[in-house]
């Protein structure tokens, strides 16, 4: 869908304008992928769980915004002295918190009993969770499109050559904030505990770290970041709202994770940006008919396969050292 929009836009622009605008929407898309990938990597690093339910959590977060902002008007109904945009942001914050809570519940119910089991089994559990969350969410959403009710819509800012929409600025700002927040978090007491747990669970336990608490926190942060990614990927101009396909769009953050390396925070950001830029550039420039409709959607996957052929653990991933 976004690719089609980009092509229509491109028809009336000069080459350089087209390139700059593609770069900016690539950055915005990359920021979305980076946020989704960050959440994924945090869960993987801290708990060694590959979370296939990440896309479902992202869509769930976006749906919570629909619910809190447009249906319930919570918490805006108690705070009507605030500007509308602030009310919406508060609703979004509540939605992120709610998704984080879902993450904690998932961890406690299905991941905690599986500690010590093969990683493959735990990954398959998240695949099952993905089916459950996605189907139940879709049932409540219905098949139609649900707008998030964000106050900016398709408003844009003109900065010289560049036309940038306000939500794109928001997306990039949120991504940068999330990264800074994480960088800060890893310096706090709890963050250091999480790094220790990621390094060696038993040693961390021996030092008095509550590994269970770290697991719960990792899932809360991961699910919260998924929700943020889901929200920013379902506002205009990227998409007009949440649909059952939102979870599938979030699936494209997986190549970003793999390209960066499953266990690398920096890799998640770089991978996200690479994938986002590649997808938008492909949508803008690779518009040959023989590539088919919606080719840009599979560019991330093709890129992932190419990278894995050269570097089997991604760009920044730690190579598995196998001891005999």
């Amino acid at each position: 869908m976004p690719a089609v929009m980009a092509v229509v836009q491109a028809a009336s622009q000069s080459g350089i304008e087209q390139f700059v605008n593609a770069t900016i929407s690539g950055l915005a898309l990359g920021a979305i992928y980076a946020v989704l990938a960050l959440g994924f990597v945090i869960i993987f690093k801290a708990t060694q769980v590959v979370n296939f339910a990440h896309g479902a959590l992202a869509a769930l977060g976006a749906y919570f915004v629909v619910y809190f902002a447009t249906v319930l008007n919570f918490p805006g109904r108690f705070l009507d002295f605030l500007p509308i945009s602030a009310q919406w942001l508060l609703s979004a914050l509540v939605a992120v918190a709610a998704t984080a809570l879902v993450g904690i519940i998932i961890e406690r119910l299905t991941i905690r009993p599986m500690i010590g089991e093969p990683l493959f089994a735990v990954a398959m559990i998240t695949l099952g969770l993905d089916l459950i969350i996605r189907t139940v969410t879709n049932d409540f959403m219905g098949n139609q499109l649900r707008g998030l009710g964000d106050p900016w819509g398709i408003e844009t800012l003109e900065l010289g050559l560049v036309t940038i929409s306000k939500t794109q600025i928001l997306t990039i700002a949120v991504a940068v904030l999330a990264m800074l927040g994480l960088a800060w978090f890893f310096r706090t007491r709890m963050g250091i505990a999480m790094r220790a747990t990621a390094f060696d669970q038993e040693a961390a336990m021996a030092q008095g770290i509550s590994v269970g608490k770290v697991f719960a926190l990792a899932w809360a942060i991961g699910a919260g970041l998924a929700a943020i990614g889901g929200i920013v990927s379902s506002v205009a101009p990227r998409a007009p709202g949440v649909t059952p396909f939102t979870a599938l769009i979030a699936f494209r953050a997986f190549p970003a994770v793999v390209i960066g390396g499953l266990d690398s925070i920096a890799g998640a950001i770089v991978g996200g940006l690479i994938v986002g830029m590649a997808e938008v550039y492909a949508g803008t420039y690779l518009t040959f008919s023989w590539l088919g409709v919606g080719f840009s959607g599979i560019v991330p996957w093709l890129l992932m396969m190419a990278v894995l052929l050269v570097k089997p653990y991604g760009i920044f991933g730690t190579e598995e050292i196998r001891r005999v």
Binding site: A123, G128, L131, D139, G292, I298, M305, L308, P312
Partner: protein
Amino acid sequence: MRGRPNLYTSYRSEMALLPTTTKRVSMALLLIIATLLPLSALPLLGFLGDSSWLVIVNRALVFAVGALGLNLLTGVAGQVSLGHAFFMAVGAYTAVVLGGEPGNTVWGLELPIWIWLPAAGVVAALVGILVAPTAVRVRGLYLAFVTLGLVFIGEHLWRNLGKVAGGPTTGRDWPALEFSWWRGMEPVISFSEDGPLWWFLRPVNLLPWVDIEEMSGEVKTYFFLLVGVIVFALLAKNLMRTRVGRSWAAIRDRDIAAEVMGVNEAKGKTQAFAISSFYAGVAGALFGAVVGRLIPETWNLLLSVEFIAIILIGGAGTVTGALLGTLFVVMLPRVVEEFTVWLAAQAEGDGIFSGVADIFIATSPDDFGLVSTGAAGPGLSIFQLNIVLFGVLIVVFLIVEPLGLYGIWIKIRNYWKGWPFTY
């Protein structure tokens, strides 16, 4: 060695297909049941011979072929693959291009079944070998992502290759299950049309109470697929017992140890990929032929996950598990549907359970319930309920019984083996 079923005096007897008398007897019983099943000649299970149930049983048989393949790759060789739907699609589209009817918008060569069915498997296996270099290099869960990517790339291909796959929402027709020597010739045996079963069986009627002259297409399809499943199950079982299968199991259990023992890891993984894809390709072609018309969206992630669910619920690494899992997973939607309809009737009526049923079932849009039978009810539709059930079953089985249905069976068996000393 009568009375000592667990005493093996040679390696050969331990590795035999059916090592004990009990196994031989139960296998013979199973075969008899499987033969009589579609003829409505069995007590209790006779309802499976109805054509509406037989369609589902046939679907289960098709899926059993695919599940056996995935079981070899995931259960025996330990390579997690989410790309089974992709390989099935490759096989299905090979079959339809070779065997399907040509049209203005689609390709088709109208070749007979003895070309398109093996070709479906072979082409899928070749694609599997093509993908294998990436798959061999990456390890463990990275492989899950590579195969996940295959599904999405495949979906894009099928949506855009209209000449092969037909229109995005219309799809195209698969060739019927009928055997003829060459295109344009009268089919020698048709497995899909109503009529006599086999021309060579006509003079000798082995089962006098069954009308062999007039047999419905579903029953004939069933027998064709049953033979196929038996052949493929035997093949899988034998692969697991021989050098190749043991080398796969070695790679699964500890890849370094396997390499130290002289197992070529890359070769083993490529073999596993190729053979599993062969199974998938044949299953895809049969799926198309049995259903008749499929849209390109059929081959999505959900189909792959369904196969993963089959393997996990049935029990990874065993042929019995794969077959049990297939029966369970494919029959489940129909059972759930019947049960829901029954519950809805209870909720409407005023039996003892009507109050309980009413909590679960929403019969009208403003009724509360977890499951809705109406079009726009607030609860899950039956289709959605089935997907949720898949998810729940995967999660519950992995947490509670990682060996799946097969593991439950082993537990029951061991309980009775030691009875009355069952501690």
